[in-house]
Symmetry: C2
Subunit: 267 residues, 2 copies
Amino acid sequence: MNRTQLIEQIKAKRSFLCIGLDTDLTEIPSHLLEEPDPIFAFNRAIIESTRDLCVSYKINTAFYEAEGERGWVAMRKTLDFIGRDHLVIADAKRGDIGNTSEQYARAFFETLSFDAITVAPYMGSDSIKPFLKWRDKWAVVLGLTSNEGAADFELQPSGDELLYERVLRTAAGWGTKENTMFVIGATRAEAFANVRRILPDHFLLVPGVGAQGGSLTEVYQQGSNREFGLLVNVSRAVIYASAQADFAAKARAAALVYQQEMAVLLG
Amino acid sequence: MNRTQLIEQIKAKRSFLCIGLDTDLTEIPSHLLEEPDPIFAFNRAIIESTRDLCVSYKINTAFYEAEGERGWVAMRKTLDFIGRDHLVIADAKRGDIGNTSEQYARAFFETLSFDAITVAPYMGSDSIKPFLKWRDKWAVVLGLTSNEGAADFELQPSGDELLYERVLRTAAGWGTKENTMFVIGATRAEAFANVRRILPDHFLLVPGVGAQGGSLTEVYQQGSNREFGLLVNVSRAVIYASAQADFAAKARAAALVYQQEMAVLLG
């Protein structure tokens, strides 16, 4: 999915919601554990009940890798079930020397049909550029993350700026607004004005609303741009809204609250 | 495998060689493509012919992920075939918020039986600490990598030190020399004295000898400590020593050159 298509989806659905499929066998309703593929059974129900409310799904690959090859099967079936009308993000935090990042790009863009993958910037340009060679695919570079550990390196000085600022500024030069997004955590709403000074045009993927406590309104007011420029991800607060038989309906209800708040913000 | 066992293996084999299984279907001998599991067939032959010469194998997960679930099956079979006498490293460069890193630790330490996993430090403490909770398992933190892109962030100033120095100093405080190693590229031999000032006791995993051009002697002279403290990884220069039917014998010959050089250095 390219940038124009993503913007059209946001307009049509009046939503910039991304739903995070952090599907954990210890959290899903226990009756699903009797299904032949519990992860996929859960995802299918969540997707069926939310697909008109969101423009993107984000698959947190760690939860699938923890299940070994059956996790990869569930991931592939989930991608097939989502189809082509949502931007599907592999939240995989990959990145390695060039010939290896090339293999990761193949894994997520070819073997699996993701539209985007999150990538870690520590190793620099040649660890990320291989992800930028694919038409209508995206690298989503970690900028300022929502977790406590962001203080250890991301928020440390780097010359006359902070490390995350250097990362945004440098990595923006490796690609374009058509193939690069950045992760900026919602728990750092005060940073969005600064982020927009460095990146006026790029889309930002924003985790941290919901279970982590970030405010959607603040994120929108400080982080949006004239082409929206935001995908706000909610994972646990949607998909685990209930652990009972009504989980899909409750997930829809939770997603609807976010979508309606987004529709108001979009005006 | 714990630190004491690793040191015993180094003494017994007179080797600190780690062989990198970056197994690529486009590089392995073409006759293997007729096997039911070409990746495993290749790995089995390489392991059979080199296991007495090395103390560690490193599986570059990207090459396996690119093959989807059959890649994960090949990875699991390879781990089973290696057994428990080598330190087996998942070169996976993972790292995410705490609940997600916990899942990656489960994936590589439980679902798969790796001894160690490489982790990316950008997101800070809570992205790495979950990997340190496992007895006799290791987190191998990226420090100063062997690639060109290391100049973009790792070698940039961070306060009154360089970023990679801050990473080494900070991450060394999260665990111990019993559960933490660091990646230092062999192509930066001039940095090893500096690394040893910060980390006198830790094991270093050193890629970049072989195809990337680093010198084994220089690495040993500048990087070893009184308990050896080094694992030197060679991937392509060993496993792709020949693309013909004699590939396993040629891989052994290439590994033997490294092992013999190491035996001389160990004195």
